[in-house]
């Protein structure tokens, strides 16, 4: 198994090449902006769940504090003064939604990942600027080289692993 890393000068070039390259083995793209992708992500669900849990938790905390934990006469207002509990419950909900989303993002992408073997390829430096890069893990690196030459890849490198 070898990893062959290549870069294309344009998004169109990479997109055309991808179906053929996938036949060689596992393919991973590294691009300066997102490619067309219809697959769903679980992150919106994580944000929603985080938000609902936070809101319920925040509201529950206030109810506990005022009704069970330490009920006290404040201005003659009822102990279960739920309208006054809404702003804080909402804010805690938003906070947990945002944090849940961010943490889920890190978990799903397995970040932080400060080193990846593909970083050894110097052409990867262009992946965050203007080069549309692809890394192919394949049993047959020679076939990969040939195919990439046919597809007019900008630069090609082969890595040890």
């Amino acid at each position: 198994m070898k990893t062959v890393v290549a870069s294309f000068a344009s998004e169109a070039g990479l997109v055309e090449a991808l179906p053929r390259l996938r036949s060689l083995g596992m393919v991973e793209t590294y691009t300066p902006k997102a490619l067309e992708d219809d697959q769903p992500s679980i992150l919106p669900l994580a944000v929603l769940v985080g938000g609902l849990v936070g809101t319920a938790g925040g509201f529950g905390m206030q109810v506990y504090a005022n009704v069970i934990g330490y009920p006290v006469d404040v201005g003659g207002r009822p102990e279960f003064s739920w309208p006054a509990f809404v702003p804080i419950a909402f804010e805690i909900g938003v906070l947990s939604a945002v944090l849940a989303g961010f943490i889920a993002f890190l978990v799903v992408n397995r970040l932080p990942r400060l080193y990846d073997p593909v970083d050894e390829a110097s052409l990867m430096r262009g992946a965050t600027r203007d080069r549309w890069c692809v890394a192919i893990r394949t049993e047959s690196p020679d076939r990969a080289h040939t195919m990439l030459r046919d597809l007019a890849a900008d630069a090609v490198e082969e890595l040890a692993a």
């Binding site: 902006k33 206030q62 006054a84 945002v98 989303g101 990942r113 990867m124 203007d130």
Partner: protein, 446 residues
Amino acid sequence: MTPFDPVALAGSNNPDMTDHVSGIALRSKAFRWGWIAIVLPAALTSVLIGSILYLFYAGVGIWGIDWPVAWGFAIINYVWWIAIASGGTFISALFFLTRSEWRNSINRIAESMTLFGAACAGIYPILHLGRPWLFYWLFPYPNTMGLWPQFRSPLLWDFFAILTYVISSVVFWYLGLLPDLATLRDRAPTRGKQVLYGVMALGFRGTSTQWRHYHALYGVLAAVMAPLVCSVHSIVGLDFAGAATVGWHSTMYPPFFIFGAFLSGFATVLLLIMPMRRLLRLERYITGRHLDVLGRLLLTSSLFVGYGYIMDAFNTYYGGEKAEITMYQERLFGYYAGIYWATILFNVLLPQLLWFAAVRLNQLVVALIAIGVIIGMWCERYTIVVVSLHRPRLPSAYGLYHGSIWDWLTLMGTVGFFVFGILLIVRLIPVISMFEMREILAPRRP
């Protein structure tokens, strides 16, 4: 420069944009003007630190607050800064949801403005406490007696709102930075910078899964941040509307404060991008269209705020309550009338010049109008806080208020700290969101 300029001038392309913007942050030597520009803000930041230390030592009595005006500059400045900060989130979150292309080149500056505006705002609720070392009692936990904070208080809602807003803004800003930090990591000229940006970028490489999750999360968070900023500023409005004080107890306050946030935010963004585009040579990416759009938004917010002032008057006279009418007439003709009329002039009258396209593109006039708006918004907060408090319901409790020297020094200190922070941001991170610009730029060199 015309209002019909494209959002990025013809001939702009991705590689040039990336090089130019990342180059600003990665230069090994700071700009000559950067060293000059940092002196005054750094000095003012030291003044701020000194004022805060003296405040903690001597007590809140060094400020001008008294009886019955128990809130002064601290609350005025807090609301003023939060309005400025909120404006940044409106641009980065709200206008993301409307898919406005012009947002892409200014949203990084707007978000950075939010960060430092919120920082300047956030210190005031702690500073103005009589016993600030006990601020942690507002955190929701049962103390040794089993006592929780009092959740019905608008100030506690404020605590949670600001806490949520600051943390969410930092997360949203950081998330929006990740792909650009990856770019800086990959273009870093020195190992030190590579490590710094590499650690901050968390290893973002632009893989297909990373982008997919990234865009999904960013979109959802923008949809969460937009109502968040409205709720936070509404809760700041409820600090007043939830009180029984004359002139504060009005249901109009939450939306009225949001209108004010729009106005301050757009004015401050304009004041930041106009010098930046010249000094950092970003004219290709911040064009006449941006100035035109922001000018129109400033005008629109000014009309909203003007509507708020009219409704203020209507509610007071239609309601017919004697104490309210007395206080309102104090606003117009009393001791502090000058400040009220300055508000009307700067917030409502001057921005009407922006109806003319020629004015919207004249950067000097726009800068003057924006500075006027910022001063006008401060005067508006002053009027709301001080005039209402100095004319309470019982005539025996009428009083006066003047800001002391420490009030002014602290205010100037926060302004300096804000500018200091913006300059740091410009020096260290890309001022334009490069990956978002790629969405709208030409795909290859022409």
